[in-house]
Symmetry: C2
């Protein structure tokens, strides 16, 4: 019934660029490669666990990932790109969740008891926020599983929570799980997570262009300063000048929630990926007013090409009215010129069902995807200018590895900066906050290149350092 199960399709498709083989991996039986167990099951107290990230890598063919604990494909969407930690042998007894306006993102570590390889992996899941009960149920199952493996007492599982839902659903989670829930600041978690991905995970960060769709950047340590543009339901832009030095400099309410909300109204689409799929097929020139539509040519003096979008959806009003006029004219209303249009004012929906405008759902989807992405790109560029930042990372669940979205964002940054700035993307773009919250429980030994500095460095002694909000 729910279409959550299709959510990662597009993601997998785009990202398979760097995975040459196994197009049929999704049809493999589960856990084919996990046969034996050889796990050091050191049980340590939560909070002092050390995670060894040496040799961490992204698992691209993931048939060995666990599916939902309860076996249902309905409750959550399992993101296939787990991160394998081959040298980590300790049991981690906490899970992290980042509950946003539309999606709840979950990260947890799992050993692989039936594998002959040591270590384990970080698992990534997401749930729709309005199905938070499914998410809580999933965490409950994780807790039961964890207890069996670890023999730990119930109180020792700890849930790290961030995002707005960490506050809104705090009591619900605590009561349902009977465990501690530690709330962490959303912005702080985002940058801790991003810093981790940039500095630690190979083949994670990439630039996008049509000619070179997924150009990976090497992990590096000299990452500051940068701008993080996190696109979820809404958009936050965060200037990061050091490991714990950050400031939310702006944002826009025109984000993923706007795209999904408007397209669900306009096209009847019921899943994000259905919308993105339609956008791929659409032609925005059918609904957008281009410079050429206004000028009949380009506006060379200003450097605006004929194909530049002058007004998103700029053709709609005009064409819809034309269609309605024609319908009225053929309906015998041609003689009513001097009458005021009082009837249309009292009825806001004058037979809109019967006179369908000549716009297709794919065209509308593409136009709106362009509009939202371009707009975010422009504002990101302007913020980067204001704050003298030349590196711009785009994160958040809006992007979903979707080619058009990344291409539009990349193009916008390139266009506005005259090629001087670059847009960077991440394969785990939606999980920055969740990973950050996960890591906040692991202050030492994690960030081997300084992504998460030793305590005492920049205020880690304080449990909740105040962010650099100016």
């Amino acid at each position: 019934m729910s279409a959550d199960t299709t959510q990662t399709d597009e993601l997998s498709r785009v990202r398979s660029n760097d995975v040459p083989a196994s197009p049929s991996s999704s049809s493999k039986p589960l856990r084919m490669r996990t046969n034996t167990a050889e796990i050091d099951s050191t049980i340590t107290h939560p909070g002092s666990v050390k995670i060894n990230v040496t040799g961490a890598f992204i698992v691209d063919q993931d048939s060995s990932s666990p599916t939902n604990v309860n076996g249902s494909t309905n409750g959550g969407s399992h993101d296939t790109k787990d991160i394998r930690l081959p040298n980590h042998t300790a049991v981690v007894s906490h899970i992290a969740v980042d509950i946003g306006g539309s999606l709840a993102k979950l990260v947890y570590f799992s050993r692989e008891p039936k594998s002959r390889e040591p270590g384990g992996r970080l698992n990534f899941m997401n749930f729709e926020t309005d199905r938070i009960d499914d998410c809580v149920e999933f965490m409950k199952q994780l807790k039961i599983k964890q207890q069996k493996l670890n023999g730990s007492r119930p109180g020792e599982l700890c849930v790290m929570a961030t995002g707005g839902g960490a506050y809104k659903y705090y009591d619900k989670i605590r009561e349902a799980l009977g465990v501690d829930v530690l709330r962490e600041d959303e912005m702080e978690c985002l940058i801790i997570g991003l810093d981790f991905f940039i500095t630690e995970i190979p083949r994670e960060v990439f630039t996008y262009s049509e000619t070179d769709p997924m150009h990976f950047e090497e992990p590096r340590s000299d990452i500051y300063p940068y701008l993080l543009v996190n696109i979820g339901s809404g958009v936050s832009m965060i200037k990061v000048s050091g490991p714990r030095a950050y400031q939310r400099v702006g944002g826009t309410s025109l984000g993923g929630g706007t795209l999904w909300g408007l397209l669900s109204l306009l096209t009847g689409s019921r899943t994000f990926d259905e919308m993105l799929g339609m956008a791929e097929r659409g032609d925005n020139a059918k609904v957008d007013m281009l410079v050429g539509d206004i000028y009949g040519t380009d506006y060379g003096k200003i450097g605006l090409k004929s194909s530049t979008i002058a007004s998103s959806f700029g053709k709609v009003f005009r064409m819809k009215r034309e269609a309605e006029r024609e319908a009225e004219d053929s309906g015998g209303l041609t003689n009513g010129d001097s009458d005021p249009p009082s009837s249309s004012q009292t009825n806001p929906h004058p037979s809109s069902e019967t006179k369908a405008p000549p716009f297709s759902a794919p065209d509308i989807s593409r136009s709106l995807l362009y509009a939202i992405s371009n707009n975010i790109g422009q504002i990101a560029y302007l913020q980067s200018e204001k704050h003298s930042l030349s590196t711009i990372y785009f994160g958040g669940s809006f992007i979903r590895g979707h080619r058009q979205t990344m291409n539009t964002l990349s193009y916008a940054i390139k266009f506005w900066s005259n090629g001087e700035k670059k847009a960077y993307f991440l394969r785990h773009e939606g999980y920055l906050g969740a990973v950050g919250a996960f890591l906040k429980r692991q202050p030492r030994n994690w960030g081997r290149r300084g992504s998460f500095e030793e305590s005492g460095g920049l205020g880690l002694d304080r449990e909740y350092p105040s962010p650099g909000v100016g």
Copy 2:
């Protein structure tokens, strides 16, 4: 049939703030106050006419304005705020038109033959661009009238044209009227028009706030530099550093055309003013996701209030799906959990008519008006920062004197600049380009405070100086 006739309602209502009396002026018989004629009908050659603007003022009670020449209320919308030029006595034998993507704006001078007062007035009209034939017909009638009054030869009427339509409809206008059509650069005309309004016309420029809705600025001469944000179908942002020194620094495709297009699809509205009227009654919190919806409270650390819009239309997707699930559940589809949603993917409109989402047209209208206005405000602020401009003028036909729009734009500038910058509006906001084109034919004697410098000053000897596009 057409609702063009209601277009100025909102404009009149807002702007009557500074006109204490005569609420019933619109019902007065036409030309009540124009009894006798005392006109110096100096006929001069077009191009060397001098316009005397001494004592120019805005005519607020305008029952003496001519209606459309052909008597129809269908073809064009007559803007009621003519500008009276009491000391100008020459006949001006040209008209100016600024043809944009959605609207064509017309400006012409008319004497008042039956008035006992000398001088005449500048008249302002607009037509929808897709009714360009009505506009051309109106110009034809003006030409005939002008010839009767002036006895001038047909060739002496001259049409100044700007905007994209000056190129697209060049042949059409020339052939229909049999006169010269001089095309002028759009950006240049905008700033010439704006400079004129700022420096010459009392009670034209104002700031807007809820407590002081229309606070007029005195005309002044030290106006540079400033940012002009012209909001038509799309948005252009122009940095102006001197009388003829300007540069289009940016813009956005999310403009009036986007609002009108999306709202015509979403609400069935058929006129701009119907949409604005609905926006006045709506509650955006019904469709927008607020910070409080995500956090359950405010996000104090970052300074985001509970009522801040986190995601425009951010509630829609979620609520629509809930409604659809309920409809399906009650329709006996409760047992289909494990089935993939293949049917909804092949049909992009799964009975969207029968399951109406719980969103009202007024709520949607208000949300989108906020979203578009806020977005323009933020980008304008960021551009003003990048280019060190502290004064921001908003022009263009999108604004239409609408309170919510001006309030949102004002608030955005104030919010983002921490109160350091101000948004300025104009009563003739839609006519900057048309007035600029009109004035380009009158190089001397017009701008008494330097709004239009004497020839030779900054390149007026050249007929088409190249703009400062960098």
